[in-house]
Structures are given as structure tokens and as C-alpha cells.
Symmetry: C2
């Protein structure tokens, strides 16, 4: 029986090292300082861990997959930096520390975000230049750019900005959540599967797993925003309610929202159990997602 | 003898159509409107034309190279949108029309830029998923991400922001110009060469050509900023002098700066003439770069 906390901690350490190792050091120091600051500000590293865990579930992995997995965290971190800007969500605190623009100014935060997004695709390109990886890299870059782009994360952020103060249906909230959060979480799992050479039918099961944990993750996020404290979360809480953002708890109530998260968790477990591999790690990660307190 | 003006006009038409065709239409309409607005605001399409011209010089090309070439214009357009933001250069006019953030607001301009950068890599990934292109796509994505990233265009923008009001040497001005403008122009040429299957030695000659026209392009840009009118250029002029930005004309004087541009043009011609192909188009483009009035 795997100790999932130990697994997550170990992978987090490996990813943290790889994240910084791939930052080129010739760049202007103010820029790499800003990038490093946001990367080092912590975070659960859920996305690259999912990439590695999905890959490990399918086959043995090497360092190239750890490096590739960093692309997911670069994209996630860039999106946080840009979302926090005064022109966007205007947040001063993230992961328990002042946000990038509060420390480095708006211009540098915009550029640090741009550079992290670019670095994500440089990382995939680097993976693709290794023997035998080119075709997989093209598929991974397609998945990543779809998940991050105008019909994925960026599209979701636009809908979210436009939804402020409006009454939304559950379907509309689900759509925003799927685009803002679900798309990149799903890509994290799928990219790991592709890198490990998963068959089409296996990718299908990984996709169902990822879709369900993606929505569950967002529901728990919303619940923590209602119920958690700033100290626990490392970012201001109650912000969604204050801005009248439509969230699952706001629409369904906290009890029904939590029930929905558990239901989605169970669906993710059923999907992943259909794989012919040992899926204990992927199941453990799903469980941690609905049990998390921050 | 090729009519270079006719060539440029024809390619511009082909590129303009391809640029919009690759914008996915499911995205939130406000986002795709902002992206389309900046793409349609005009521009010489120099970068994708260089990609196509370099590829055509080496071998026969098909539509996949035209689509690929759009990646260069997506990156260029994203960089203009972000550079124009109030937090950066704070420009209200670009290509003769109000800048993206003036029309769509800062948040949407940030997201439209992010989406165009992502679309650039989606475009390369799509090219890479076509039969026989995967290895070339990995090389192209590497070139593009280096040219656009923290050691290329973004790094140059950081140095440029940090240089305002400081006295720079010619070497420092050259370094900023090489990063901000030269890197992406060079990548435009190189990516076309890679897509057309150019040999390493041929890519070397294309690189020298591109390096020289890249710097020449920047010198002419600076000269136009000193000498041109807002009407001719479609953007405010004299802005560099006002901000005490170190430019070639400011450092060398306009006469010596123009002489340097011509010298670089001549070097670019020598390099490209060493290729065993008909290089009339590439030579014509170099000539247009130093003759341009806007």
C-alpha cells in the first residue's frame, strides 16, 4: 500500500528542482527573479504530479517526463500571475505571499507570465527533440495549447470576468469551471499518458478520471473559499462571494456541493480502475483532492 | 525578374486569410473579437512573409507552410498588444488605429495577447501532427520559443524598459535591438528553412541573412521614429526621443545610422547569394526593408 502523502512530497521535491533547473540563466535577472519568485511561492504541484503519476501508471518513466511535467506548472503559474494583475482579479496575496506584480510591478509581472507560457512550450519542444519523442511532443503540444488557449483556460477566464455580478445557471458555472480549471488538469493527465505511450482507449479512461477530478477540485476550491481562512489558504477568502461570482456552493449550498464533489470522485475511481495497471496512486491523488483543506 | 511589390502584396493576402482562418470560433466572442481586431489592424506581415520566402527559396511549398508562418505573426501581434499596455509602453495608437486595450480594456488585451501566444504554438503543433513533420515541428518550436522567450523578445523588452533614461553604449543598444526585434525576424527565416528541409549549412547562411536584415530593420525603424510623421507610420513618432530611449540614430546620428543599415543590407545579400538557389525574393525583401517609408 502506497503512502500517498509521502509520494506527493517526494514528487513535489523532484518537480521543484526541475522547475528551477529549466529556467535559463542568461535572461535579464529582474525577469528571471520574477519568474523564480512566483515558481518558488509554493503550490501543491498538482498538475505536474498528475502528469508524472499518469505516466508512471502506464509505464516506467525517466527524467524526461519530469522535465516535461514542468510545462504544466509553468502554464499554471503564468495564469496565476496574469489573473492576479490589477487589470484582472486584482489580488495581492497568493500562496501565502504577495503576488508577483506587488513585488516586481505590473510590467514585469506581465512579462514574467509571458515568459513562463513561452517556457512551457520550449519545454515540450525540448522533450520533442529527444530520440523517438517528436510525434508524442506534437500531440502533447496540441493538448496543452488547447487546454491553455482561447477555448480552454483563457476562454474560461474571459467568461469568468464577464460573469461577475450576473446570475448563472449550474450549467454555466460548470462550463466556466471546466474551462478555467478542468481543461489544464485534464491535459496534465493526458500528457502523462501520451508521453508513456498509452493506447487511445487508455487515454479515454484517463480523460474521464481527469474530467471528474477536475470538477471535484473546483468545487472543493469554491468550498474552501467560503469556509476556509486566509491563513489556511494563503490567499484572501470570501472573494468570490464578495464579487458575486457564481460558484457551486453559492448555487447548490455547501452540503450539496460537497456531495457532488464526492460523487465525481467516485466516478473518477471507477474510470481509472478499468485500466489494466496498478492505479493506486491515481486513486490516492483523487482522494487527496476531495480531502484537502487548502 | 520578380516584381517584389507584387510578391509581397500577394503573400500578404494569402497570410491575412490564413491568420483569421486559424482563429477557433467557439471561444468567447469578446476574446476572439479582440484577437481579430489586432490581427486585422494591418501590418506588413514581414515575419510570415520571410518564413514563406525562405521556404520557397529552398523547395516547393504547400499550404501547411502558410499556416505555420502564421505562428510568427501571432507572436508578433501578441507582443505588440502587451507592449502597448498602460503598464508597459502605454501606447494608444498602433498601425493607424487605437491599440487593443484602448478598445477592449486592459484585461481583455492581456488575455488576447496570451491567447495569440498560445495559438502560435498550437499552430506549430498542428503542423507537427501532419505526416512527416513531427521532427521539424520540434525544431521549429524550439527556435520560436527561444526567439520569443526570456532570452529573446521578452528579455529584450525587459532590458528596453530598464534602459529608459540611461546612457547606453552602441553595444548595449545592439543587444536590445537583437533581442527585441532581431531574434523573431531570424526565427521567421530559420523556421521557413527548417520546414523546407534546408541543410545545416544552408540554415547558417539564412541565419546570417536574417541577422543582418534584423538589425537593418531596427535601424530603419528608429530613423522613421525620428523623421517620419504619425500619419505615415500609423503610430506616434518621436516617442523614443521623448523617453530618452537609446537608439541607433540617437547614438550615431541619422547619416551614420543609415550608412550602417545599408552596410548590413549588403552583408545580407552576400550571405544569401552563397545559397545554390534562386534568392531574388529574399534579396528583394532585404531591399524593401531598407527602402521602406513606414
Amino acid at each position: 500500500m502506497v503512502n500517498i502523502d509521502q509520494y506527493l512530497q517526494e514528487k513535489r521535491g523532484i518537480i521543484n528542482a526541475a522547475l528551477l533547473k529549466q529556467l535559463p540563466d542568461q535572461a535579464p535577472s529582474s525577469l528571471s527573479d520574477a519568474m523564480r519568485y512566483s515558481l518558488e511561492a509554493g503550490g501543491k504541484r498538482l498538475r505536474p504530479i498528475l502528469t508524472i503519476a499518469a505516466a508512471e501508471t502506464i509505464s516506467e518513466i525517466d527524467d524526461s517526463i519530469v522535465n516535461l511535467a514542468c510545462a504544466l506548472e509553468y502554464i499554471h503559474t503564468y495564469s496565476l500571475i496574469h489573473d492576479d494583475l490589477p487589470a484582472m482579479d486584482d489580488s495581492n496575496l497568493r500562496r501565502g505571499v504577495p503576488t508577483c506584480h506587488c513585488v516586481y510591478g505590473d510590467a514585469m509581472a506581465i512579462l514574467a507570465g509571458d515568459a513562463l507560457l513561452t517556457l512551457a512550450f520550449a519545454t515540450v519542444a525540448c522533450y520533442g527533440q529527444m530520440e523517438g519523442n517528436a510525434t508524442k511532443a506534437a500531440e502533447i503540444a496540441t493538448q496543452l495549447s488547447e487546454a491553455a488557449g482561447m477555448n480552454g483556460m483563457i476562454g474560461g477566464q474571459v467568461l469568468d470576468l464577464e460573469a461577475e455580478g450576473k446570475d448563472l445557471t449550474v450549467q454555466e458555472v460548470e462550463r466556466i469551471s471546466e474551462l478555467k480549471t478542468g481543461a489544464l488538469l485534464r491535459a496534465s493527465v493526458i500528457c502523462g499518458g501520451i508521453a508513456a505511450g498509452a493506447a487511445e482507449s487508455e487515454l479515454g479512461k484517463l480523460k474521464i478520471y481527469a474530467d471528474n477530478i477536475g470538477t471535484a477540485f473546483q468545487i472543493i476550491d469554491d468550498l474552501l473559499d467560503c469556509e476556509g481562512t486566509t491563513e489556511e489558504l494563503g490567499k484572501p477568502t470570501g472573494a468570490d462571494l464578495e464579487k458575486a461570482k457564481a460558484t457551486y456552493p453559492a448555487l447548490l449550498g455547501t452540503v450539496k456541493a460537497r456531495e457532488k464533489a464526492i460523487e465525481l470522485y467516485e466516478k473518477s475511481i471507477i474510470a481509472v480502475k478499468e485500466l489494466k495497471y496498478d492505479t493506486e496512486i491515481l486513486e490516492g491523488i483523487a482522494r487527496k483532492i476531495i480531502e484537502r483543506k487548502s
